[in-house]
């Protein structure tokens, strides 16, 4: 046992990240840290790393995910990324500290601290984290019905505490089961915070609705933390050099590329691109150009993405994204780019990159090409400074004063776009849109996001019987460590 523990203590640390407000970048850095392995399912994790500040809407899902860690387990909190500290009054975070009393608070990116917690946990110096929730049975099913399992006949009842799937038309003219399912906010293949309520017929999505944005500020919460497009938003009030903006754009697209490659099962290639993004400078132009060429030619990626998630001009107009431009619109042939009319770019010979197919592959090639183009612009821009105030072309589209941010419009694309897709294609499509739920949360003006004025997570959803708000194990998590009353 001693030998086993010693060996186990030197294994790569399996972590499951929970991304709070302002935590996305620090969470993505986990993928690049030596000695750490980010896992897709909480069942495979030993450490739960909460990055950034939790809103109240994220609290209950976090507790569910925590209880899905099989143990020995521990929770690390990396505050700071969202500007929060344990005592600044951020409600969700205080609740977290109350709900998971064993949380260890360290500095974001502190690998040594993380490894120390892991070592203590395996050597028994630190006890495994206690469950955050108690198991509540809801609705009652034991002893009900002819078999005592809550069901009645073929279609009736709530067998094992869960309503049966409904029947619905399928595209082949049959009536088949449709399972209502809520996936998110921590489903690893989706951007953090995204909650989708879908009907699943087999692995085909039928009827998709976007759930409440958990990053949305509620009264008493801090406003949303620094976005990944912070530099671009800052141009509203601050002069910046064109070179800095363009390197930031290239970095943004490379980080997206890294996430996307991971979603396509290419974790190692994703790591290489992620490392490149982290240390990116103007000098990397040839590397990024070569990368863009290679990705454009990659037959495997082409097969995985071409023809998937086609966003055409009509769909763009319907959600108003034709005003924002951005890579999604340019990949569908709309040549909108704020840089075209930006005086700061006048001498750089800028012309927007355009693809016409509008599918996930076009968006992949679009962003790869724009990353290369951005570095080339940065190289030529020298010391050109851009005065504040004008609309700026952000990595997702035009950011103009008093206009909604592009993420809200991109989110509004989802229901129509995903309906009828196979699950894998839906994941490819969602990834290809480069959504950011924090950016969308900042936007109060879009109708997709009905304003919430009061209340926390509702009572019903905190029961053990409906633990559907955690991504990876949505129907049957019921951790053994929970107490059945």
């Amino acid at each position: 046992m001693g030998l086993l523990s010693a060996a186990a203590g030197r294994a790569e640390v399996p972590v499951f990240p929970v991304v709070g407000v302002g935590g996305r970048q620090a969470a993505e850095a986990l993928w690049l840290m030596p000695g750490i392995r980010v896992v897709d399912s909480p069942r495979a994790a030993v450490l739960l790393v909460v990055v950034g500040r939790l809103t109240r809407a994220l609290l209950h899902p976090t507790m569910l995910v925590h209880d899905q860690l099989p143990g020995p387990r521990a929770t690390l909190w990396w505050p700071g990324a969202g500007g929060a500290t344990p005592d600044d009054g951020a409600q969700g975070t205080e609740d977290l500290l109350a709900a998971l009393p064993d949380v260890v608070t360290t500095v974001p990116g502190d690998t040594a601290g993380l490894l120390a917690v892991f070592a203590d946990l395996l050597s028994g110096r630190r006890p495994s984290g206690r469950p955050a929730l108690v198991d509540v049975e809801y609705p009652r099913w034991r002893g009900v019905g002819p078999h005592g399992h809550g069901g009645e006949g073929m279609m009736g009842g709530v067998p094992f505490g869960r309503p049966l799937a409904e029947m619905a038309d399928d595209p082949d003219g049959l009536m088949l089961d449709q399972l209502p399912l809520r996936v998110g906010p921590f489903f690893p293949a989706w951007p953090p915070g995204l909650i989708l309520d879908v009907g699943l017929q087999g692995d085909v999505l039928r009827g998709v609705a976007v759930g409440d944005n958990p990053y949305r500020s509620w009264p008493g919460d801090e406003p949303v933390g620094p976005l990944d497009t912070a530099l671009f938003l800052a141009t509203r009030t601050m002069a910046t050099t064109v070179a800095a903006l363009e390197v930031a754009r290239a970095r943004h697209h490379l980080r997206w590329l890294s996430r996307t490659l991971r979603g396509h099962g290419l974790a190692a290639r994703a790591q290489r691109v992620g490392a490149l993004a982290q240390s990116l400078s103007v000098d990397d132009r040839p590397v990024v150009e070569a990368l863009a060429r290679r990705l454009g030619r990659d037959a495997g990626l082409a097969a995985a993405t071409s023809g998937v998630g086609i966003v055409d001009r009509a769909a763009l107009e319907r959600v108003g994204i034709d005003r924002y431009g951005g890579p999604v619109a340019r990949a569908a042939g709309l040549g909108i780019d704020a840089r075209t009319h930006d005086p700061a770019y006048a001498d750089l010979g800028f012309a927007p990159v355009i693809h016409h197919e509008g599918d996930a592959r076009a968006r992949l090639r679009q962003r790869a090409a724009e990353a290369a183009q951005a570095l080339s612009l940065a190289e030529r821009a020298g010391e050109i400074v851009r005065p504040p105030g004008r609309p700026v072309e952000g990595p997702r589209g035009v950011l103009a004063p008093r206009e909604p941010l592009p993420s809200s419009a991109l989110l509004a694309l989802l229901p129509d776009l995903l309906d009828g897709l196979e699950w894998g294609d839906a994941v490819t499509t969602v990834a290809s849109l480069d959504l950011d739920l924090e950016e969308a949360a900042l936007d109060q003006s879009v109708a997709t996001w009905p304003a919430r004025t009061s209340g926390g997570p509702t009572g019903a959803s905190t029961t053990g019987a409906a633990p559907t708000s955690t991504g990876p194990a949505p129907t049957g998590p019921a951790p053994t460590s929970r107490v059945t009353p």
């Binding site: 294994a11 094992f160 490659l261």
Partner: protein
Amino acid sequence: MNWSAPLPGVVLVGTVLVAGAYVASVLDAGAARLVAGRPLRVGELVAGPWREAALLARIRRSTTERPDAQTWALAPALLAAMAGVAVATVPLAPGVAVADVDDGIVLFGAAMAVVMVGAFLHGWSSNSVFPLVGGYRFVALALSYEMPLALVLIAAALPAQSLSVGAIVESQQGLWNVVRQPLGLPLFLVAGMGLAFWGPLGMSDGADLAGGTGVEASGPDRLAWALARHFVLVAVAVMGAAVFLGGWQGPGLPGALWMAIKTLVLLAVVVGVGHRVARIRLERFVVVAWAVLIPLALVDVFASGALAL
């Protein structure tokens, strides 16, 4: 030594599977580092699989609400057992075969068909959505793997005029099947990669399903499933080395060493492809399998038959 006696047979097959699984995971980690552009660190690579296994052994088992516990436990056992059956049919050196029966490749095919049952059960029995979707994905794809697999093996049996793996190895004296039937090995590897749900064909346990059939497994269960998957991969590589690369035949070195080298090469190819090629779309793969792979496999059979005549 009589390798077909029970005890030596089990020990031999077990050794091959465990050693192969270990080497495959070292190769996998090494390929990941190469592709990611990180330093190789041989010491870490060599110790890595043991450490991970030790960690998984330390993590607690977990369960879901109302799983089918028996079939859940059965699934990795089925995969491991069938991988063992497959390896048993292959002569690992001249005269060293546990069960070189005259219907060896049929036995291999039957074992691989039961692998499909194991993968489906692993997804179905945990009573959870993503594992279930993963299990159904495997079923939807399995026919597309089994058909070309069976056809290329039949083609390899033609020049040997026997279904025995030993006879197929003997028939490659002077000319390996990889040269005689150039379509055989690539098709076999694609199908084999599918059966071990590895790399681009790992759709049943894919990242888009957060791990598919394996989502709910933790600790020892996760270890068992990972081992079982590796065993199937090893079985495919061993069979590929025997049927297409001349098995134990080769100049200079002892037969067992040749067999090990050839198996390693195939494992390296599969593992490398896994890190380079993106997850394939279900729909597209089924179309490619039926419209391209199976016709190519038929061409392979007809051409091999014509040559054998």
